[in-house]
């Protein structure tokens, strides 16, 4: 069943919780809503579920306008952020609620309840009351309750937020399996967690300040983020100020050859909603502020032990340092298990720290050491800076 939102705006008094959201989720598609806290993700979900009435815009389900249809007649499965289990019903009765409301035969209710509880790994808690469960267990019951009615549209509001890493991975696997088993269900999946979004979503919608910033297939959004906000929010990209020059871009006085601003990032036809011209531009807006975007794991670091006086050696066109490398200093290191997160500063760009991920096992320079920072041009993209 296709879900379509058209210019949906939700206001709570003076607060605009959602502004002009246009979104289509096709049958069988999973769209992840990703965004910082308070960006309107839950509100968008509530509007689709019918819990809040949009102050503007329409909502369509399978081609029918449901803007004024009450939640009970939308047939949508919802897992809300607060779980909202019914405290006076046992786990099994919570899960059976929707089935009983649909007047399913007793045997079928029992079979289906056992099935979904098994799926979320809560079968042995069927006789418990919600208050006798941990947060993560409650969350799984809430998922089971929504799945039990086999809804054509599933709305999940941070459904794995309360689970530990292991359980989260398991449940993520279950959800992926569910998608294969019920191919026609349309899923809107709200999350803070980009790895969940990347694992599950066909498309990712990035939200910010009640607006949709970018929406694109997960891989595209990751490899070529259309806006600076998306680049840093999804995957925590480094954003370095550059200027466009003949044959490439100029970063900290050194040219990175072969990188051209794409059409989308050019001012004028900037599709990204976040793009606002930074002024100060010359003819045709060519010198608009641009940011070079590169993922922390794509950067290569190497020691500069041999170089006696790096600052002196660095000439105007990048004399001693090899092609795409910049001299800098390592200012911090954080071990994260499988990798280490290093923080560097490029000489001449003291205000911008560069995050670099180095797999564990590679030998690391000392904090305070002079390093050479290599930015492979194929891993770089350009995004427009935000004029805020």
């Amino acid at each position: 069943m296709t879900v379509r939102l058209e210019d949906v705006t939700v206001r709570f008094g003076q607060t605009v919780a959602l502004e002009g959201l246009d979104l289509t989720v096709a049958a069988g598609e999973t769209v992840a809503l990703l965004g910082p806290s308070g960006s309107g993700k839950s509100t968008a979900l509530k509007a689709i579920a019918g819990f809040v009435r949009p102050s503007r815009g329409r909502i369509w389900l399978a081609g029918a306008d449901v803007t004024d249809v009450p939640p009970a007649r939308r047939g949508i499965g919802v897992v809300v952020q607060q779980y909202a289990l019914f405290p006076h019903l046992r786990v099994a009765d919570n899960v059976a609620f929707g089935l009983r409301a649909a007047r399913k035969p007793k045997a079928e209710v029992a079979r289906r309840v056992a099935e979904v509880l098994e799926m979320v790994g809560m079968a042995k808690y069927a006789r418990r009351y919600p208050r006798e469960l941990s947060g993560g267990q409650q969350q799984r019951v809430a998922i089971a309750r929504a799945l039990a009615i086999q809804p054509p549209v599933l709305l999940l509001d941070e459904p794995l937020a309360a689970l530990d890493a292991q359980l989260r991975a398991d449940m993520l696997g279950e959800l992926q399996k569910l998608r294969r088993e019920v191919p026609d269900v349309a899923i809107v999946y709200v999350t803070h967690d980009q790895s969940e979004a990347l694992a599950l979503a066909d498309r990712i919608a990035v939200m910010r300040d009640a607006r949709l910033v970018d929406i694109a297939p997960a891989a595209d959004l990751y490899s070529a983020p259309p806006s600076a906000f998306t680049a840093s929010f999804l995957g925590g990209a480094n954003l370095l100020p550059v200027e466009v020059v003949e044959g490439g871009v100029r970063l900290a006085g050194q040219t990175l050859a072969g990188l051209r601003p794409q059409a989308a990032t050019l001012p004028g036809d900037a599709g990204g909603a976040s793009y606002q011209g930074a002024g100060r531009s010359g003819a045709g807006g060519r010198s608009e502020a641009l940011l070079l975007c590169i993922r922390p794991h794509a950067i290569k670091l190497s020691d500069r032990v041999g170089e006696a006086d790096a600052v002196g050696e660095r000439g105007e066109g990048g004399g001693a340092t090899a092609g795409d490398s910049w001299p800098g200093v390592l200012v911090g290191a954080q071990w994260r298990g499988a990798s280490s997160r290093l923080t560097c500063v490029i000489d001449g760009l003291p205000a911008v720290s560069v995050q670099v991920d180095v797999p564990t096992g590679e030998c690391l320079p000392e904090v305070g050491a002079k390093v050479s920072i290599e930015l492979p041009v194929e891993a770089c993209t350009l995004v427009a800076a935000e004029g805020r």
């Binding site: 009450p70 009970a72 939308r74 047939g75 019914f86 929707g98």
Partner: protein
């Protein structure tokens, strides 16, 4: 640090006895006042009921008049309480969950109703249903006011806010999102009410209902004001015997029965409520 830690229990041990004494000292004045103002008159009443020995008791308890009044009292109290629970629940649900402008005002009016004296309702009933009243002059004197039903309707009118007040409080505590989810699972209003709302407000319902039962059992003003012929309740009988017929011992016997009835009901309610609370605490 270690010395301090060691000395703490010793200091506490030294302070404990005087604390106990001072606590009972604080309890003394209210207990004295209670004894003087409540227990002593009750003892007097009980004593008065035995002035003729057990003869008065046997005579009063054995009388048809008394038994009729007892049955009537219980009938009226139970019917009124059930009526209050039904009407109160309905109104509380509407005020809490059906969005309409002025819900706040109405909920404020409920509080105001609690402050009014009960005979006011009876008085207004005579204006509405009495021979000279609004309805009376339209359809003629139906004799409605003379029946126990008039008392029951009046008591429901007056005591419904006593049920609504705790209910409104309890319903405000139910997270809206729970009702939203219940609705999105396809639950109709009746199912949501029965399976989600009512179980959550059951303690409030029990408290409001219990209070109403106690109050209607002892209601005097409404019965007196409506002056229904067929409607003699225990408090009315006490009034008739004591004030009209100057038969103090008989009045005191009935009064003692009334007090025992109230205390018995109160104890039973407390037991029921604490058992409910205990079960919840055990689960929490």
């Amino acid at each position: 640090m270690a010395v301090e830690a060691l000395s703490t229990p010793i200091a506490l041990g030294n302070q404990a006895p005087p604390q106990k004494v001072s606590r009972s000292v604080w309890l003394l004045p209210p207990l004295l006042v209670l004894a003087g103002l409540v227990v002593y008159p009750l003892v007097l009443v009980a004593g008065e009921s035995f002035t003729g020995g057990f003869a008065t008791w046997r005579e009063v308890i054995g009388s048809v008049e008394f038994r009729d009044a007892l049955v009537r009292t219980i009938q009226i109290a139970v019917c009124s309480t059930i009526g209050c629970l039904l009407v109160g629940t309905f109104l509380a649900v509407v005020i809490s969950f059906v969005p309409f402008p002025g819900a706040r005002v109405i909920s404020g009016l409920v509080d105001a109703m609690l402050a009014l004296p009960s005979f006011l309702v009876a008085l207004s009933f005579t204006f509405i249903y009495g021979a000279a009243g609004v309805l009376g002059s339209l359809v003629g004197d139906s004799g409605f006011l003379a029946t126990p039903w008039a008392v029951i309707v009046a008591e429901i009118t007056f005591y419904t806010p006593f049920v609504m007040r705790p209910l409104l409080g309890a319903m405000a505590q139910i997270p809206r999102v729970q009702l939203d989810v219940a609705a999105s699972l396809g639950g109709g209003p009746w199912r949501v009410l029965r399976q989600v709302v009512l179980p959550e407000v059951k303690p409030a319902l029990a408290a409001g209902g219990g209070l109403t039962l106690l109050l209607t059992l002892n209601e005097f003003g409404i019965v007196l004001f409506l002056g229904a012929r067929d409607t003699t309740t225990l408090p009315m009988l006490v009034h008739t015997k004591g004030i009209v017929m100057f038969d103090y011992p008989a009045a005191c016997v009935i009064a003692v029965v009334q007090v025992l009835l109230s205390i018995g009901l109160y104890v039973a309610l407390r037991a029921a409520l604490s058992r409910q609370g205990g079960a919840r605490a055990a689960l929490d």
